[in-house]
Symmetry: D2
Subunit: 357 residues, 4 copies
């Protein structure tokens, strides 16, 4: 049995590089040899035991690689092709997929949540912080990389860009909108880029870290509000002449950012929530207009599937958005434990790391 | 100065029939002689001092009547025409109106809420529980009543049908959906009718009052869950084979109903909230899937304007929906204090009262 | 090699019942034993050589049956289950499917048309006017029949209801709309039912055959305009007080009906086209308002997939729509040539036939 | 009676600068002193007698100016304010406006067309190629110009940008789309900019004039196809790897461009038509997939109203789109006849002219 290196969740606070069997694949699967991957904030939640996965699971859900082997029933691809797959891997044939809600593919309750079934890599099945990964439902999920794009150029597509952009898309951002983005981590930065891509004309980022603010401006933020320099809500209301924003995007997952997002909405506006929360949320009565404000609150799980990936790579290939400033550090897979150490503690101005087996 | 009778908010717990001047009208207004009106749950909140309006304000926002006089600039109508106007009276020319959010017409903060500006009758200006009412922006708001419809047949259009139907419409109810409606007061009953009108095939009402349950079945409920007969969430999950509903409509305005509505949603489903809340709401983490469930929470303020009223009256005229069972009691305007007494205490199986000056 | 009876396109004007091998199935397929099927207007086009299919192909695309055998990779179903499959069988994993356009699944040009790739049964692969049919991509397409529904009750779901309803759905029919449906064959009748199901309040059918007009009224038409009794456009304009209809549904496939549909639209209205045309169409300049009328013209290929079928069967099961009057004649498979003879010539008031092997 | 200079349609081929009375205004109107305006291709149709307006009408529908006087009932503006108004001036209170179709405001047939009622300036009432113009329904239509923007910077907003952008918006352009724009006149160029603003990643312009092609590239075209250098359809299919475009925008108004737009659509794509046609159109059967291609054909009349203008000026103010290269020539109002001469014959590389009284 051939072995490979893989980053495995052993127990709380221990993700360890171990030898694991190279995955077997079934008729509908593909085996992809990973050439580049990365670590997500969600992986840090797993590391800390805040999000429950099975002990012994290989983690990671952002694969860039080369098709090593195709299942017997997989058509339309060839071995040796460079591909990515989304963090969420819809089957294509579930009721959820056929109902326009592909991220919620998969039946039944997952880890006590009744949703999130479409997230498989590093959650329900072995993930891609490894030399190889098994991609389920390969025909729906393998997305060929345009020749002229490097691994790093497409590394943000599987999760960060897909999630961040969908914050703007599900929020219904349209031409001439004002948009506020709360927290400028990688997801929030991509939400800024997404709002820009959809025609927003006043984009306000909220953060306090200089490096993130700088990247936000590169990606399209017109204003940045520093939450350490006065009241965020007041600053945003002032920037919009008291009108409030059309769309407020929450990209952190806390009560404070959620509530501020609600407070800066114009009547009839949309709160688009991307954060992964870890506690009950409170909706304050006044900002909610007692239920009469024609508000919408929308949440999104990262859209996946090869068509989504194709479109995101087209955004990169066309030069519309340049997310390369997000990759601040690079590690070999052998050093992934050090990469976790750096990333989990947000040291040295890290935004995203590139891991190369 | 000619006088008329009007129901006036005097102080907490006192709405009194008084003599008031017949309103003057400006060039864009109409004076409507009220022939029928009704009392809304919101009026009871006003009576109890739970929703703040100015002392001395004439209350009521559901007018049916006859055009007595038209402002000098009003075209397209004639005096003597039978009309209704919506509870919400958009101007047509505000940024909110031109942006597709007409209910939020009107600038600035209202009673400490930053929204709700489109609700004028009995809130910002004198209302229609009176012999006459001034209708602002008459060209946008006067809606001629088809000849063959009686006052009572259209009495639910200005608020109850418009609000209830929009619960289903903003919720995105579509063909083959499962829909749960929490609380079968007049608004909830119209939400049932609205869900039916939009093609839902499994409509589940939640209440415990026999008369309401009976009307819910007439209006299209396939199932009714009695919250006094076991766990509501479990019953609804069982009725949907464990799948949950596509759309859950909240029509009461409490934490309990809001939370149950969230708990019965399928992944990717929509919680459409119609209730007027009186306290902060809590979103429980698990049913919210930590923010990853692709859920939408939408709120609605009763859509108004003459086109909305025209369509709702067409629903009645076509026989698609028969809301006549909702009117359970009738009073003269002179007896409106008794009507409030009955309605506020929900005595004698009252659903809606018809008040005729 | 086991044989079965199948209706095969031999040559122009000859569809013949022949012995054919029972289909082999691959890992993703299912073999379904047909218990009921029907003949579609499109099959008549095939018969007449007006729509090109390969000689020797088994025709028919409306299967009701029982799962005889499942491919090795098919999960979630069991042999012996009663199922239908849509006329269009999307794979679930194509770019078209993942892009929200599942009916156009499949690559490349089909019969000289660059579209229509999702229509496989009786077009690209052997169809279901036979004792058995191979269902491709079974996990996306097999739809279990609720126990209490008979074969005939669900026989309209695979094509007629799905196509007719989508005429109303893609047309954007909403509450209070006026809708005209041009031609009341089975598809047009289902468009009437669909418009009713979506809240239209003035539904005008156009035809001249008494039996069809009678069924149209049962399914929800408020008015029927007989095109042999005066000018259709004038009659519809009169019925809508000169305003025109919000949505006009074309359900025949001719220049006359297409053009009349355009002529009765209100400014900003939608022409929803369901017909299969056999010649170039002309858009007259005046009714098209020289391109400035904010019109939409939308076309639809019957939506398929198990979720669509599930929803349509829910419509039947809930009693919302009763399409049983559409089945006017019944034949054994052995008599299918006689059924074609009757149906192709529209003899004896036939609407749809039920064929039972 | 005070007089002003105005460009008046006298008869076919004669638009003449004449003395005319400065308009009176009613209570809902505003009088705007024109500081800059321009000539539209539609004005040339009027000049040539191809589009019928009344003799003696002042032409022009793209006003930039200063509020000279407000009607007695107009609130929210002040005299001396710099404003624009859209080419289309919806009332805000019509059924069409309240139904989401404001451009079709106004009742009845206009010049033999049943639509186009929202276009008033230089069509139904005196236009703005003059020293003063009366703006009807001023509260819905006056849009204050941000201080830092010059007249020329906002001169494209009333018509060219609004129409061009809506070609992309009504076409449903979304992230990662391929879009082809047929004809790169001012409207087509703004359609290119609009497609870019909405996230299209492959934008293909079609024209042959070098100057227009150059501006198209500045505004976001990734490719330009020269229709004099080979078959347009083949070139576009090649540029999209045989897939076709998601959205094809027609911006000329001819059979050739309309038909090519249809031929390059992917199955399920949208043809967004902006051109003003002068003859019946033909839809060829094959490219239309006999009606089964899930195609949409949408048409648009320039959206107006102050909210639309506010958003377009925000696009300019934010630097998202720079349409200044469109203004190639400048004239005083006294020289407007020379400006017509130049513009009507498309001499000297003219795209748009700025006219300043």
């Amino acid at each position: 049995m051939a072995l490979m290196k893989a980053a495995v969740f052993v127990e709380k606070n221990r993700i360890v590089l171990e030898d694991r069997p190279i995955p077997d694949i079934g008729p509908l699967d593909a085996l992809v040899r990973i050439t580049t991957t990365t670590i997500c904030g969600t992986d840090v939640h797993i590391l800390r035991g805040e999000y429950p996965v099975a002990r012994g699971l290989t983690v990671g859900h952002e694969p860039v690689g080369v098709i090593e082997k195709l299942g017997s029933q997989v058509q339309g691809f060839r071995e040796g092709q460079r591909v990515i797959a989304g963090a969420i891997t819809p089957s294509g044939h579930s009721y959820a997929c056929l109902c326009g809600c592909a991220s919620q593919d998969g039946a039944g309750t997952v880890h006590g949540f009744k949703a999130i079934g479409g997230w498989k890599f590093g959650n329900l099945i072995d993930g891609c912080q490894a030399e190889y990964v098994r991609v389920p439902d390969a025909m729906a999920n393998l997305a060929p990389i345009p020749d002229r794009l490097s691994d790093e150029q497409v590394l943000m597509c599987p999760d960060i860009m897909s999630t961040g952009f969908s914050g703007a898309q599900r929020g219904g951002v349209s031409v001439g909108d004002s948009v506020a983005v709360f927290a400028l981590g990688p997801i929030g930065l991509c939400a800024v880029a997404g709002a820009r891509l959809l025609g927003a004309t006043t984009i306000i980022g909220v953060d306090t870290v200089a490096a993130r603010i700088s990247v936000a401006r590169q990606l399209g933020a017109d204003h940045v509000v520093d939450f350490q320099q006065g009241n965020v809500v007041e600053q945003i209301m002032a920037l919009t002449d008291g009108r409030g924003v059309d769309v407020a995007i929450e990209a952190l997952g806390t009560q404070g950012t959620f509530e501020s997002a609600l407070r800066v909405l114009r009547p009839g506006g949309t709160l688009s929530s991307l954060g992964v929360y870890s506690a009950d949320l409170s909706i304050p009565l006044g900002p909610f207009a007692a239920g009469l404000g024609d508000y919408r609150i929308v949440t999104t799980l990262c859209p996946g599937g090869k068509e989504r990936m194709r479109r995101l790579m087209a955004v990169v290939a066309s030069g519309r958005v340049d997310v390369s400033p997000l990759v601040t550090h690079r590690f070999g897979l052998d050093d992934i434990e050090a990469a976790y150490e750096l990333f989990a503690h947000q040291r040295d101005g890290v935004m995203k790391v590139a891991i190369t087996p």
